[in-house]
Assembly symmetry: C2
Homo-oligomer: 351 residues x 2
């Protein structure tokens, strides 16, 4: 008989795997009285809460595209995949409720690794009392893919969109975007003679987080005019708010909260820490806008949910585009860059 | 400048493709007053209907696993992928409302083919006034995958599950499961000297359908004790009902509605038509159980929604297992087979 850790998906088959996942969810998952039907029928079913909108989002991670298998444990990969969806719900001011998960697997995937993935999903859902109510496992073409559908709720009329930013609004951001990208860069190009696995940037990359509690708390105040999470990177996602709202922004270099860790990591890499902060990075921080009179109040609300600061970094302007007001005086136009899965990197002719 | 039909996904990039899909949905999609926020923000948002349960399901199609690209047009592939989800909602007695779609694409996929896929999705959603409210495009590892998350609704307390079948209940089925499998078999192994593209079995395979309207109508009567759709094949899916309900079944060979087309196709292939009816096939018919006194009434309800007959083919029994009562007398035990993506076909040692 095989040792459990060696067991492959092909050994127990699709239905054996579904049973194993169901048992794990039964042991480790949270149950909700509003779920009428969880896994095991043609569809799941739940009773929505009166006075609440239902939020629905999906996000996927494809091996070799969104992640390289050696860089994450399966548990952390599961957490990261779930966090990217929780972050989207939080960026609307909502709270996650139920997830459905499609896994595309190779036949020789270890069952233990699939269970670790699910432990990661559940670890991120549990603090919200949220649960996995359905899913689907299939054989992939090559490599694994994870596709998560997350359902959330927000009090009717309290959801915060991308399109509400107004000229004069303050631009705020949680934490320090760019740390995850710098952590990845350290793993790939960092010094080989320094142990990096405990470096805070590597931890920021490997051990994901989200600011959904902050998103929900600030949305409840009714004082946030627009919000988004930073899955494309600070400039890219601020760009989404500006485009949706028909406005521009100026950022103040001296206010940008580059963390000590990011400063140190960028130094090790010989790179500009500001470029990490502004550029493509998977950090799942939140960018929000509000009347500048409410910025300090929102900072206090956020501080009750999370240890990372909420920092005012700029202003919304009439017009379009993003300008950086340099610490030493002078201004520089910034280009919003966004990760595009279908375009070769660094090809300016196609940017 | 390139001709539109030659344009590749990599030519317009991820965000160009999202814009193109958004425009297509705007032109061809249905709008719903309950949708507060469709595509274009961190999540979609809608207002649920009071007194209704929300149904949620997901199902995926992976190139080379669920389909071979040459066998379907992109339009029909889109229809089939959506139908497999609509069928699941219908099998609960529900009605589809909103879809979110994840597409995994190769960079050289033609934009036109992606648009055709979406036309297929929308063609199947439109009759329900259902719409696409979100999604995600990503680059796949190799080959395409389509993952659809479908949200539906059913009047509170009216959903029909797999687990309600009782000994003595009649077993009913819509249409003639097995036609799709026979159509595929004709395309792969059928005679080369006969034009097959208009053969009804090939049409059954290529041009999908579902019985969601029947599912909704019979569920409303409150007289269906259990229901499932036949995505795994008749025996496999009847097996799911039996397992969930803790019962067995006997089928009456002379009542099994083998269609003329299936009889003729099986003859061309030198195969037993009954084996197609019972075996693995993607037909999206419905199996349901009810008190035998209500079978004729439900047949009448179904006839108002669809031209395919609802046929009583057997009885639920105490105990377990499926027995076929042969037309010539005698009985034969049947083994429920289910398509398993992770097991080699025809490997009895692992069945």
């Amino acid at each position: 008989m095989k040792d459990g850790s060696e067991e492959k998906v092909s050994d127990i088959g699709e239905f054996g795997l579904i049973d194993r996942i169901g048992a794990l969810i039964g042991r480790k998952g949270v149950s909700s009285e509003r779920v009428i039907l969880g896994m095991g029928d043609d569809t799941a079913s739940f009773l929505p809460r009166p006075g609440y909108e239902i939020l629905a989002t999906c996000d996927s991670m494809v091996e070799g595209r969104h992640y390289l298998p050696g860089f994450f444990s399966s548990f952390d990969l599961g957490r990261r995949a779930m966090d990217s969806n929780i972050s989207d719900v939080g960026a609307m001011g909502g709270r996650p409720l139920y997830a459905l998960i499609t896994l595309g697997l190779e036949a020789d995937t270890a069952v233990h690794e699939v269970e670790e993935l699910y432990r990661g999903f559940l670890a991120e859902l549990a603090p919200f009392g949220a649960s996995i109510i359905g899913g689907n496992v299939t054989r992939s073409g090559s490599g694994m893919f994870i596709d998560i559908f997350l359902i959330g709720e927000v009090e009717q009329g309290k959801s915060v969109r991308r399109r509400g930013a107004r000229p004069g609004d303050a631009v705020l951001v949680t934490g320090c975007p760019g740390e995850a990208a710098a952590g990845l860069e350290l793993l790939v190009h960092g010094p080989r003679d320094v142990p990096l696995s405990d470096h805070p940037l590597v931890r920021a990359f490997r051990t994901p987080s989200h600011r959904a509690l902050v998103g929900e708390a600030v949305a409840r105040t009714g004082r946030v005019t627009a919000m988004i999470d930073t899955s494309d990177g600070f400039l890219g996602d601020l760009g989404h708010i500006l485009e949706a709202s028909g406005v521009g922004a100026e950022l103040f270099e001296e206010k940008i909260p580059v963390s000590g860790a990011l400063r140190e990591g960028a130094l090790m890499l010989g790179r500009d820490p500001l470029a990490f902060f502004l550029g493509e990075s998977d950090d799942y921080e939140l960018i929000m806008t509000c009347d500048p009179l409410h910025a300090a109040f929102l900072g206090g609300v956020a501080a009750r949910c999370c240890s990372a600061p909420l920092t005012e970094v700029g202003r919304i302007t009439a017009g379009s585009g993003i300008t950086l007001c340099l610490s030493g005086g002078g201004r520089r136009a910034l280009e919003a860059t966004r990760w595009d899965h279908f375009r070769p990197m660094g090809d300016p002719s196609r940017a």
